[in-house]
Symmetry: C2
């Protein structure tokens, strides 16, 4: 019931999507609207599978395939950004009105930390210019261990030492 109400108070993103569909002569369907809506309700990063499960809750008849195909449309119309995760999966994040950023990726817990550095961005522009390259997008990922996992590691070590002390 409140699904209907929810879609009534049209978000700016919905309008962008509908315009895009019209412009490219694609059809406006209930599934596409639902998927966009569920995507907009997420925070941070979702995988296609995450989104599939979230959509399933609201309409269990929607298939995998439609999720993938719709996510692609969202990327094309600038509402979503694709991000290659650490294990090869794709993650999706909001793109509209979100400033560009890159990621620190914890290889232990999968946590994503966003960073942005003006200087790096402009140095990138220099590099691209130097090679006569036409830059379309970039992916700057730093892999490592986040502060929390480092702490957890240290804690585990302590416990380990205790255990050794006790068993000796």
């Amino acid at each position: 019931m409140y699904n209907v109400i929810h879609t009534m108070m049209e978000r700016e993103e919905t309008r962008i999507f509908h315009d895009y569909l019209k412009r490219t002569r694609l059809k406006h369907t209930a599934q596409r609207d639902l998927i966009l809506d569920v995507f907009l309700d997420t925070e941070d990063h979702v995988s296609s599978e995450d989104l599939y499960h979230l959509v399933k809750v609201k309409d269990p008849t929607v298939g995998f395939t439609t999720i993938y195909r719709t996510l692609k449309l969202l990327v094309e119309c600038g509402l979503a950004r694709e991000l290659e995760f650490h294990d090869g999966r794709m993650l999706y994040e909001h793109e509209y009105k979100h400033t560009h950023h890159d990621h620190l990726i914890c290889t232990q817990c999968g946590r994503l930390i966003e960073f942005y550095d003006e200087q790096i961005e402009s140095l990138q522009d220099d590099i691209v210019r130097r090679y006569g390259f036409k830059s379309l997008r970039h992916s700057h990922r730093i892999f490592g261990i986040c502060a929390e996992c480092q702490q957890a590691e240290k804690d585990a070590e302590k416990v380990g030492h205790h255990a050794v002390a006790l068993t000796n």
Copy 2:
């Protein structure tokens, strides 16, 4: 025949690999030696499949699996670096005595251009420090169209215009 001679004049990398095998109590096999040797003879970037075919020429009995498993060992002992390509495949490049660098990737022809920027590297260090992150590796890729493909595009456009002019 000259395979034997070739392996006789042992490269520094071969020694590193053998040391690594000994250290980790892994076995020294003809396949592993051959794969390393073929890998060292490549330039730039090879996919596992590229390497598989190159190895096949010298010994057609070697299987896929051994290539994959050996490449992993080469990464572990610091002789090879894994690079996520544009389409999800992995590429391998020489790591030993090769300075670190990142890549411009042409999404049209797949060309890889290496770049290195000291300032970006040190800005990265700053960022990592700011978040208490322990950096293990990074992947900085700029996707776009290389100078050659841009030129080719322009040339194609010209031809296109001619064609239109002629058919009109």
